[in-house]
């Protein structure tokens, strides 16, 4: 094609090209700024949100009894202790249930599973479960734990529901951590005559621990912040005692929801103060995750 052009035509088009290039580069600059703005909008909203919540809630949060008393029907009195205790117990049960099962499943899929249609079904199934809405897990929990197993709307039902909700995320992140363990480590262990399980328990797992724990904490933070599934299972917005495993229960997000939906003005501040408590809890968990990652990473 190029050979059919006249030489001066070619020169002409080059001239046009160079004239144009400034405009095109300028347009490029404009879009670069637009893309950056698009990125910054999200961060701006995040900053605004945190500012708004601190402004609305800090006064209420800093009152002495807010963290240590049971809720009151008056917005300026009482506290959120039952919700905090509930959320912590929920978190602990979720860890106890999901870590062994999730890591076990990840080990099976990475180290044991044969490459066949059955394994493929399990894998597709897990990635689908990760996309099932939280409120649908609530329906599952209501059916299985409340009615089939007869726990009723108790803390244990909520905790097991949140466990099922967190499981896919933990499996996915644990798999990534296990996959990142170098094969040379496994071969060295086999070379010394170790069996598969000895190799996994004494080499693969210790090496993968930081990655696994990071995933665990990300998914626990999600579980602790989740409200939709607990509403369906039957969490309550008002409790005057600290719940046991088989009693009615609250959770920080449920407390927030309950405060927001009350019409009296002061409850908005109580909601914001509870949000501060929830965010601090999540922040603390993530701090632990970062600490663990730095402390236990094998270099």
């Amino acid at each position: 094609m190029a050979t059919t052009y006249q030489r001066d035509d070619y020169l002409d088009s080059t001239a046009e090209f160079t004239d144009n290039i400034d405009k095109r580069e300028a347009l490029g600059k404009v879009f670069e700024i637009l893309f950056l703005l698009g990125l910054l909008v999200g961060l701006f909203v995040l900053a605004l949100l945190l500012f708004d919540i601190l402004r609305d809630g800090l006064g209420r949060f800093l009152t002495p009894d807010f963290l240590t008393e049971t809720p009151s029907r008056f917005p300026d009195e009482g506290g959120i202790l039952p919700a905090i205790i509930s959320s912590i117990i929920l978190g602990i049960v979720v860890i106890l249930v999901t870590v062994p099962i999730g890591v076990g499943a990840a080990l099976y899929l990475e180290e044991y599973a044969p490459r066949n249609w059955w394994t493929a079904i399990i894998e597709i199934n897990i990635s689908n479960l990760a996309g099932v809405p939280s409120i649908v897990y609530g329906l599952l929990g209501l059916g299985v734990f409340n009615y089939l197993l007869g726990f009723g709307p108790a803390l244990i039902s909520g905790a097991l529901t949140l466990s099922l909700l967190s499981l896919p995320v933990i499996i996915v992140t644990a798999r990534e951590a296990i996959r990142a363990v170098p094969n040379s480590l496994r071969y060295a262990s086999y070379g010394l005559g170790a069996t598969k399980w000895k190799t996994i328990s004494s080499h693969v797992i210790p090496y993968a621990v930081p990655g696994i724990l990071t995933g665990v904490i990300i998914s626990i933070s999600r579980a602790i912040g989740d409200a939709a599934s607990l509403i369906v299972v039957g969490a309550v917005g008002f409790l005057t005692f600290n719940p046991g495993l088989f009693q009615r229960f609250m959770a920080l997000p449920i407390q927030i929801y309950s405060y927001i939906t009350r019409p009296e003005p002061g409850f908005a501040n109580a909601a914001a103060a509870t949000i501060i408590a929830l965010l601090l809890l999540i922040l603390a968990l993530n701090g632990v995750a970062i600490y663990i990652r730095q402390r236990f990473t094998i270099h």
Partner: protein, 313 residues
């Protein structure tokens, strides 16, 4: 420790371990079975969801006909004059989802493009986790912010109802931005360098390379991220139940209060409907529809993303 002590009679110990092989074998088998059982929990979860949801939904459709559910245009299961037309709930879901995606697609894509094509690696290493923080904020917090900050702010400009689709949709969009952004970012990053360099060699600018080469090449990954974002928006509950209200109606007016499928489910479960009652079954019927919609979206997203992966491997 044992190994050091046993070094002098390593031969006899080696013999020991050979004899123990049978029990080792059994142990290995047992562990294999236990680990398989762990993985099987996920399959049981899916079976549980399907069995329980569809059992109750079956019960629902024995009392309410398919025609009533899918053809009626009113949703008033809690009133004396009962109607079970699900379209108002679907309308509310679609309206808030559309607003959310109108926010999440441009914000998510521009974040992905900036982080991949423009930002210095060190800057990107800070900005990417910062954007992903948006996904770590509990959704009930977005509900609070939508109702008590965004709505009053917008009411200065638009005549909005106190509960409205716009505030809830906008907040949901910000929340979903990291979902769209980080999957698109991975797709954009896996476009081979050679393609960009080929484009530059032809004399086009960076921006033209992005729009004419990089984005088309990453298109299926981007589409997968958008579909996944839609699925998240459809299933999101707390923001819409707090900020969009509980008025099931068919409307495209974003200033009005609407009710989504998830908001209805949260509303009815808060009311402690006894098991076996028709209200209880509507919860599962709507849940079944929600589950099927999100499942379909997730499968499409998974399928589109995998097609894209094959292209460059």
């Amino acid at each position: 420790m044992q190994n050091i002590n046993s070094q002098d009679d390593s031969f006899s110990r080696f013999g020991d371990s050979l004899e123990k092989n049978a029990s080792d074998d059994i142990l290995e088998k047992i562990i294999g079975v236990i680990l398989f059982a762990c993985a099987f929990v996920s399959v049981l979860t899916t079976f549980g969801i399907v069995l329980i949801i569809f059992q109750e939904t079956f019960g629902f459709f024995q009392e309410v006909s398919f025609a009533q559910f899918f053809l009626d245009t009113k949703w008033t299961p809690l009133f004396a004059d009962k109607h079970f037309g699900v379209w108002p709930l679907i309308n509310g879901t679609l309206l808030t989802t559309a607003i959310a995606m109108a926010v999440a697609i441009p914000l998510g894509l521009s974040s992905a493009i900036y982080l991949s094509e423009y930002a210095q690696p060190k800057v990107a290493a800070i900005l990417r986790p910062a954007v992903e923080l948006l996904a770590g904020i509990p959704t009930v917090v977005y509900g609070y912010f939508a109702l008590l900050f965004i709505t009053p702010l917008l009411r200065n400009v638009f005549p909005l109802e106190l509960f409205n689709a716009l505030s809830a949709g906008l907040m949901m969009g910000v929340m979903i931005t990291p979902t769209v952004g980080s999957i698109s970012l991975d797709a954009i990053k896996s476009v081979p360098r050679s393609l960009r360099e080929g484009a530059y060699a032809l004399g086009i600018t960076k921006l033209e390379a992005i729009f004419k080469v990089v984005l088309p090449a990453a298109l299926s990954g981007i589409i997968a991220s958008i579909i996944l974002g839609i699925s998240r928006a459809v299933g999101e509950t707390m923001t819409v139940v707090i900020a969009a209200g509980q008025q099931p109606r068919i409307t495209v007016n974003f200033a009005e209060s609407v009710e989504t499928m998830t908001a209805y489910m949260a509303q009815i479960s808060g009311g402690d409907s006894p098991r076996g009652s028709l209200n209880f079954k509507t919860l599962y019927a709507v849940g079944a529809l929600l589950f099927l919609i999100t499942l379909a979206l997730n499968i499409i997203s998974y399928w589109v993303a995998n097609r894209f992966k094959e292209k460059y491997d």
